[in-house]
Amino acid sequence: MDFARAHVLVCGGTGCTSSGSVKLIEEFEKRLAENGLEKEVKIIKTGCFGLCALGPVVVIYPEGAFYSMVKVEDVEEIVKEHLLKGRIVKRLLYQETLENDNVKSLNEVDFYKKQRRIALRNCGVIDPENIEEYIGTDGYQALGKALTEMTPEGVIEEIKKSGLRGRGGAGFPTGLKWMFTANANGENGKFVACNADEGDPGAFMDRSILEGDPHAVIEAMAIAAYAVGADQGYIYIRAEYPIAVQRLKIAIAQAKEYGLLGDNIFGTNFSFNLELRLGAGAFVCGEETALMTSIEGFRGEPRPRPPFPANKGLWQKPTLLNNVETYANITQIILNGADWFTSIGTEKSKGTKVFALGGKIKNTGLVEIPMGTTLREIVEEIGGGIPNGKKFKAAQTGGPSGGCIPASLIDTAIDYDSLIAIGSMMGSGGLIVMDEDTCMVDIAKFFLEFTVDESCGKCTPCRVGTKRMLEILDRITKGNGTLADIDKLEELAEGIKSTALCGLGQTAPNPVLSTLRYFRDEYIAHVVDKKCPAGVCKALLSYKIDPEKCKGCSLCARQCPVNAISGEIKSPFTIDTAKCIKCGACESSCKFNAISKQ
């Protein structure tokens, strides 16, 4: 490959792909050729940069110029000005990187400053479809080191010492899991597997790692297989992640071609093969026993534990199952040592965690922070705060299994144990920010609807219990709830928690319990006052026109889809609340702020 003086990195993650980055690449190729630059400038389609809110993202090195929301029409200017004449197009830069007209390094920008990228180290840096780029950034060195310099016990010892805990959500010590699997009787074979069945609404870190750096997971699985004594691995990934699936297929084929998967890797006795298994997208298949049942070709349903997969997993053989992000940390621990890893994070949670920031926040996207970073730092500094001058109300972590962190606890340092202590959980890393316009009862209902839909139906507490809870929540949001309903909700929640078969059911009541814990007054307002304080639950709302402010322009009446507004021109209009469907079209159309909901 020839040396290229400039590299144009175009984000090829799912976010930027859907905002049109593929067309940008075509345009860059065309314009570079027009200007005779195609040999000295290289275009690289990378994984996610993290700032999905500003996509499509284009970064040009060696200057490190970060262009955001690039349109096809902008490409010609970037090529002619920046790549031909060396003048950065300041107009198109991510404006945070401009300070007094000088271009700052990306690492000094608020969004990146507090981040520490270990699992995401190659995302947005290398071309995930080119194994040589991965090798050029120390790829497969950790596997080489493990196979030639370390014993399997030594590898496990290092992982144990690192304090790495499962990034899928529960936080089980990874080294222990490896040790249990290594110690299990494997005379009939053992397996390693990767859980890439990321199903939480709002979570997309595993997808981004696989899209941006698939070899990191493949290499780590090979190391794990060496450590526990397996020779076959499976990656269970949902079919809804087409880009990740495609890149994994390419990566596995390239690794085989280079002899990094297959027999006698690096001339040693170690052999390892890896296959993909696609899931149809059932949330329950993220639960480890259901996932393995699905890999075996059966309907994805969980089974009781023990026996744990470390003893009886795939086809009743010992199986090591880790999550994508857990694997993405392994090579760095092997290369840099456990002591390096333990220097990052808190006492009981080492390293970093990737969060998918979403909801009412400026910088929607992917962030990787050291454990122990406070929620305030994530929301206000990295996330850029809440848009439209609204107030922070709560953050939801752990998706349908997690809970809410209210504004009063915004200074909580985030790690596994602190989140459990306040009734939430780390979960896989979805972090949804909510502002004052969010109704907490409605949020609890949203997550419960999700679990009711996704319950596999095998055990009664989950199948019937969550449904009953949802019916109660539905009553409350429609203004038909009673105080006794709130007590019943709590009783049901505790019952389901302690009796459901698998993690899905056991954690399903968490969103309800945590909102009840911190926002009980909102539930009571719905039940007693028949009011939704955030103005979300439609049944409890009514729209009113303030006759003092109304100019009688009739604009709202013309916007109303059900003709519920009537009146004489130039005199105040009125809303027929019986006809009103509470769509809010009138409120947003009024030029005089005369319409409000109550």
Binding site: M1, L84, E133, G144, F266
Partner: protein, 133 residues
């Protein structure tokens, strides 16, 4: 743009082969790491520079850096340095050293700068602005 190594039929059998690929590609990927230790070669590419022939100079620099597989060297452009009569101008910034300004560059001179200055550490005094003035 992805290099497909279709010709490569042989699987790697040792760590040394992995190392060889890493070294081959290292200087490629390094362009993307913001580091304070890299040498920057900057070519004046304003209208004056281009008119005076900066493009072949730039191409020659890029070609030499690539051929010699030099790591930690960046080639980039800048606007008008202000001495249009001395264009094409090439400046070399090495960490911890004074910057060196070469003037009235040609393709051949550019190749010599890579060989003498960047590789062997000897500033080509005869091409510098001091010698021209």
């Amino acid at each position: 743009m992805t290099p497909k190594n279709k010709k490569r039929g042989r699987k790697m059998k040792s760590l040394a082969e992995l190392e060889a690929i890493k070294n081959k590609i290292k200087n490629q990927v390094e362009v993307r790491r913001e580091s304070d230790s890299s040498t920057r070669i900057v070519v004046g590419m304003a209208t004056c520079g281009i008119a005076a022939g900066a493009r072949p100079v730039l191409a020659a620099l890029v070609d030499e850096v690539g051929k010699r597989n030099l790591s930690d060297v960046n080639v980039s452009q800048t606007g008008c340095i202000g001495m249009c009569r001395l264009e094409p101008i090439v400046e070399v910034f090495e960490p911890g050293k004074e910057r060196v300004t070469y003037v009235k560059m040609t393709e051949e001179k550019a190749r010599k700068i890579i060989a003498d200055h960047i590789v062997n550490g000897k500033v080509v005094t005869e091409f510098t602005i001091g010698a021209a003035e």
